[in-house]
Symmetry: none
Subunit: 282 residues, 2 copies
Amino acid sequence: MSNVIQVGSALGGNVRNVRENPRASGQVQSLSRALWLMNALAECPMGLSLSEVAHRVQLPTSTAHRLLTTLQNERYVRFDSERSAWLIGVQAFQVGSTFVRSRDVVTMARPYMRRLMEESGETVNLAMFDHTEVIYVAQVECHKMMRAIAGPGGRARMHCSGVGKAMLACAADELVDELATRHGLPRETPKTISDADALKADLAKIRQRGFAIDDEENAIGLRCVASIIFDEHAEPLGGLSVSGPTARMTDARIPALGTLVRKIAQEITREVGGTVPVELAT
Amino acid sequence: MSNVIQVGSALGGNVRNVRENPRASGQVQSLSRALWLMNALAECPMGLSLSEVAHRVQLPTSTAHRLLTTLQNERYVRFDSERSAWLIGVQAFQVGSTFVRSRDVVTMARPYMRRLMEESGETVNLAMFDHTEVIYVAQVECHKMMRAIAGPGGRARMHCSGVGKAMLACAADELVDELATRHGLPRETPKTISDADALKADLAKIRQRGFAIDDEENAIGLRCVASIIFDEHAEPLGGLSVSGPTARMTDARIPALGTLVRKIAQEITREVGGTVPVELAT
DNA sequence: TGTGGTATTCCATATTCTGGAAAGCGATCT
DNA sequence: AGATCGCTTTCCAGAATATGGAATACCACA
């Protein structure tokens, strides 16, 4: 059997390997080359000229052109004739987005997020956890004027975001210490909780309530309440939050909003086949 | 071996063409075939077995396997060995998602707008939504003498413009109330719908028809029909309209024009990788 | 009218892809 | 155990298919 594993997936690296020994890892030269072209185009959202891409992947322009037009026929790339630039095409987008769809919380959560937005009137975010950070992966914006916040793709620290704290509350307190020593608890705003013990105290309250409150700890003027979506092992799968300007997210509204996020997060948990840990159940 | 033509089998039109004359449209057989494989996988988010995909795109399993492993090396597809199923991979997602960043609705819509102008003989506008207002961002003028309307850059209120109403029709009726209380529904002309309930009734008709009609509600002597372009979450991305003097935009023409705008708006939706919400489809 | 930067097309060549066949692999049944 | 099925994976000879240098076409700008 030809040893397929040898090639690492660091892009730069394997390009050379394959180049030196075409049959080593892939099998179909022309296909590999076409994919390198797509990778190159993906790195430049504004597009590249034929000769530029060709140069980047070290191919003769004629070959690159032939591959690109083939990709174009299937709409995996497109050509902007105004600027004579090659760009990623619709089909690549549509095909690629089914990656997420396959077993994904995002799609399943969307209808619930919309309902949450409508019931709360505020912007709703869905976040996932990536090691020590929070990544926002989906958003349903409210109709109101004042909408803070960056869209999907954004990141936040654990200790100063609603979903981050909600997640920490599900873990052992030792995680806080580890986080504090490893990354510190940097202040994002004057209100950021940057002391480990104070944070632990907050987490205790979160466990009790079933939802976290971020009171301008991440950005001034921005409040948010958050709760967790669990997987089948009752472990955090993602976080759901409602956020808005402090002016609208008044102390009076917070309890009701919190209960609402918690409720919807639980519904999503059920939808994705997860279970809420016993200590948090209702 | 090698006789590719052997199968006169019934395949999708272009598939057959390419099969019979590989050089005709694409250029690189193996690449086209690989893309068909990806397309097939994209249609089944739960994945397909090798033999299933191979059968779907009418390729020998050995060939399909070779192509798939090549795709796998570049992480465009992945293989779930538990279920022995092939699925779309991360790289396809990452590469594909740059499409959204680079997509420019205005340029992508332009050829469609031109066609719409030619088929209708009237001026065509593309508009985007800015919270509570409509902004016209592109225009293709008709050749006729009588051309009303301000060019791109202009703004209009939601409740008294074709695209605005078409957009409202996609949202919950509560938005109308909010709009009414917050900004009122000021009369631009005697025909402007300035009553919330009357507006809601009109929106219902719009939802049913699939296009909106502005009958001198924004400017006297000016009629327009409009429909919506949707993004990948089936949410409004922009609006497309055909407008002209009432004298030419007769009651008799409106239905045909409406269907036309709706059709072209749907085509643009597909072009930009969006999806028409189910309730509006076809 | 020329010049430099592109994108396209052409074509002979042999490299690269092809697909049938056969070997593996892991079930489930007798 | 052994046999049979359905699937994946590998092999290999043969030629169809991809290749890339060179020629051509295009376009903008001077």
